[in-house]
Symmetry: C3
Subunit: 138 residues, 3 copies
Amino acid sequence: MNVLTKYLEIKSEGEPHMIDLTDEVQSMVGNSGISNGIVTLFLPGSTGGITTIEYEDGLLKDFPAMLERIAPKNIIYEHQKRWRDDNGHSHVRAAVIGPSLTVPFVKGKLTLGTWQQIVFIELDIQPRSRRLIVQIIG
Amino acid sequence: MNVLTKYLEIKSEGEPHMIDLTDEVQSMVGNSGISNGIVTLFLPGSTGGITTIEYEDGLLKDFPAMLERIAPKNIIYEHQKRWRDDNGHSHVRAAVIGPSLTVPFVKGKLTLGTWQQIVFIELDIQPRSRRLIVQIIG
Amino acid sequence: MNVLTKYLEIKSEGEPHMIDLTDEVQSMVGNSGISNGIVTLFLPGSTGGITTIEYEDGLLKDFPAMLERIAPKNIIYEHQKRWRDDNGHSHVRAAVIGPSLTVPFVKGKLTLGTWQQIVFIELDIQPRSRRLIVQIIG
């Protein structure tokens, strides 16, 4: 049994900045010495999310447009009334996308599809430094 | 290799009751004797969800308000036509949030952010007793 | 420590085809020789999703109806302007549902609720052959 903890440091622009993490995660898994298992990516924070998407310019606009439909920026949030930090919508969007993604790997290779990338999406209103946890188990 | 199965018993009020599970999960992980690994929380049921959020009064209203936008309570559900149990919206909301959350831990400590809590959200219309699975691996 | 990789081959109809995977996953876990652990299901692709739901005819319409509200088929997608493959909505829906589901098992049995099934949902516009990864760890 092996558990290896790695960290992935990223600097985001403000919302909705989507960052392709695939190559870095693949590299960490490939260099881990663990051939078969799962990798769990986790964001320690409540205003961003992790998922997969085809990372191309069109969808980088279409996915945030969906988030704007379900949690619009300019409606009234109770969070805003209390904290005045202008990111109520960021928290709501993050909670539905989720902070965690688990991907299997086989023979050191992530089992992603050809047109499927691992992405972090910054949902907070300002640029942030993020340190994601990359937990490799196998 | 160690696998430890724990159960987290909760009593929910009806929808949309959000319960902070962070301290209990941290305690189970801390007492597990496993220092590094992942914990998978799982709801055995189809009318609740597990995610993370900043657990404060504002967002406890804002997150359910988003769910009401995407799966309103008072529209017609096919589920309702067949089963007459008034919880079609509960099932739809649960399927999009998801029943599972995986969080890495390092040196016995969950890798959550400072303002990030693990929450169960009751989406069913009545109070329920729930027994979540807490699977600790490392 | 044991890791076992299995593959689940499915043929989907076009959107929104929901396929109940519970029996096959349970069978793979039950035959794995691993008694306690977690199973991660993963879709290598960006136009489908995996979640749990009560698999009954009503919800098989209600869940897609929610997806149509949050990512309607007949609005303009930037993805469409570039690629003309008519599945912008499919990608957006897939990214919010997610490609991955992790379920604990105990004594060879998935910890699902009685009315909770594991489902793959085809979100692409045409029938597709899919090969899901079933990573069993314990």
